[in-house]
């Protein structure tokens, strides 16, 4: 069981959260200008890091807010993070960067 620290609610059990996948994926500003390969790269391709990975979570059964953490995918350790989450590139994923 992961113990995840929500920046607003503090440390909570994993079951209160949903994994939102890789952080830092920014929706292209003008998708129409992309070719099919570039669009597939944004839509489907994943870094899938072995080791440290920046990823998004949503506190679904809590404050329902999104944030990002750094987690090791081999040890499942979550790195302490003074200012988790609120970096723009972490947050603007599916909603569209402007």
């Amino acid at each position: 069981m992961l113990l995840i620290t929500c920046p607003w609610c503090g440390p909570r059990d994993e079951i209160e959260f949903h994994s939102g996948g890789e952080a830092g994926r920014v929706r292209p500003h003008v998708p129409d200008e992309l070719d099919d390969t570039e669009w597939a790269n944004f839509l489907f391709m994943r870094r899938n890091e072995k080791g440290l990975r920046r990823e998004r979570w949503v506190h679904a059964l809590g404050c329902r807010r999104w944030f990002a953490i750094t987690r090791d995918t081999v040890t499942h350790d979550i790195l302490p993070d003074d200012a988790p989450s609120l970096i723009a590139s972490d947050m603007h994923v599916d909603g569209g960067a402007r």
Partner: protein
């Protein structure tokens, strides 16, 4: 040659008179040679099957299988051994039915008992949308010439009396699809049977040999750096479920795959109580009883990515709750062992088989939670693809470039299991 010994009743009797001391090793644990025509990276069931069919069907025996641990120690040894072909979409149905047909003759083909047991797979429907989806899948299977039956609740009571069919439960059973030709197989025997078959045909199986780098010249891989030295290869096949991204990174291309833990567990052994496989998407568990008497239980993946071969306890807790919903009689059963494997998950829950952006490197990946059942078919069509350089017709729809041209094969839910 010792590794060409045939198994039979007479061989068993003969060895019995010699106190069973005359059995030869089942397969040859090879030392790496400097160069091979084809190197298969990954000594799981799919990789070993690929090597076997390369040697048997295509006459290419100058093949090495590189395994970083021991053969069959990854997902081949970490699944719930279910074999079925009741998939909704034509492309999936074709590939899994091809595999199921190979399963039906596999023990004879390999002269090795893989304990394939066609005990039937029952997929339960608990609500109206389950019933509609189940009947749709049932009809699609009939159109594809694959055996399928729709059972009413009374018919389920006859077929699987152990199930709780009371209407007064939270998720009552309303009906089920049944594939009688589906069932289970012995996972270790599959790895060993293919290893034995491949080894006897001249394939080198090299264990404790982890790939550390792929050397490229232009658009080709020329050499493979491993923990046991550098190996040259004309063609390379990558079959490393759970670690596909690592190898793709080494080769310099991207994959639409994420690695997730998939957990399973077995109970203490009990007398025969369940003679089929029962699956339920709505309460989400699948269960069968092994020949040793243990219940073998599985469910869905953990939501986060991982390479740790373990997952979180809430997933186990959820599937045990689902088990007791279906079989309250198992409530006092203790669980004996529990394990996790790392599965490749594609956005459309379908595999990737075929060419890559690197000319002489082929990939077989992304089987998600359903790879074990595909082992013979996957190896068969991947061997064809590598040997001829042209995707096998059954593999063609599963090309990596489907993510660019948009022809996804969306088996989420459609596959008869929630992913």
């Amino acid at each position: 040659m010792s590794n060409k010994q045939r198994y039979s009743g007479f061989a068993l009797l003969g060895a019995g008179f010699k106190g069973h001391r005359s059995w030869a090793r089942v397969w040859r644990d090879a030392e790496p040679r400097p160069r091979y025509s084809i190197v298969i990276i990954g000594g799981g069931g799919h990789g070993l099957a690929t090597a076997y069919y390369l040697a048997k069907n295509h006459g290419i025996a100058n093949v090495a299988v590189l395994e970083k641990g021991w053969i069959g120690g990854g997902n081949t040894g970490r699944n719930t051994t279910i074999v079925r072909s009741n998939y909704l979409w034509d492309e999936s149905a074709a590939i899994y039915e091809h595999s199921l047909k190979l399963w039906e003759g596999l023990s004879r083909d390999l002269n090795y008992n893989v304990m394939f047991s066609q005990r039937g797979v029952l997929t339960l429907a608990h609500n109206l949308s389950d019933v509609r989806a189940g009947k749709r899948r049932h009809n699609a299977l009939l159109l594809n010439g694959i055996d399928s039956e729709w059972l009413t609740r009374d018919q389920i009571a006859d077929y699987c009396p152990a199930l709780n069919l009371s209407p007064d439960v939270r998720y009552p059973v309303l009906g089920a699809t049944l594939q009688r030709r589906a069932g289970t197989a012995r996972h270790d025997a599959v790895a060993w049977g293919y290893a034995r078959g491949a080894s006897a045909l001249g394939v080198d199986i090299i264990q404790k040999c982890e790939v550390t780098a792929l050397r490229r010249e232009g658009n080709r891989v020329t050499a493979i750096d491993t923990t046991r030295g550098t190996i040259l290869a004309d063609k390379v096949g990558v079959v490393v479920a759970g670690n596909s991204t690592i190898l793709a990174d080494m080769a310099g291309f991207r994959l639409p795959i994420e690695s997730h833990p998939l957990q399973a567990l077995v109970s203490e052994p009990i007398k025969p109580v369940l003679d089929c496989v029962v699956m339920s998407n709505a309460v989400h568990v699948y269960v069968s009883q092994s020949d040793k008497g243990e219940l073998v239980l599985g469910a869905g993946i953990d939501g986060y990515t991982s390479y740790a071969q373990r997952g979180s306890f809430p997933v186990i807790e959820h599937q045990m709750g689902a088990l007791l919903e279906l079989f309250p009689r198992f409530s006092r059963l203790r669980m004996l062992r529990h394990w996790g494997g790392i599965v490749d998950v594609c956005p459309d829950a379908s595999p990737i088989i075929g060419k890559t952006p690197v000319d002489n490197l082929f990939i077989n990946a992304g089987w998600g939670t359903g790879g074990f059942k595909a082992t013979p078919g996957s190896g068969h069509i991947f061997a064809h693809t590598i040997a001829t350089g042209v995707p096998h017709p059954l593999a063609a729809p599963f090309a990596l470039d489907r993510f660019v041209d948009g022809k996804l094969i969306d088996e989420h839910g459609a596959a008869g299991v929630a992913h």
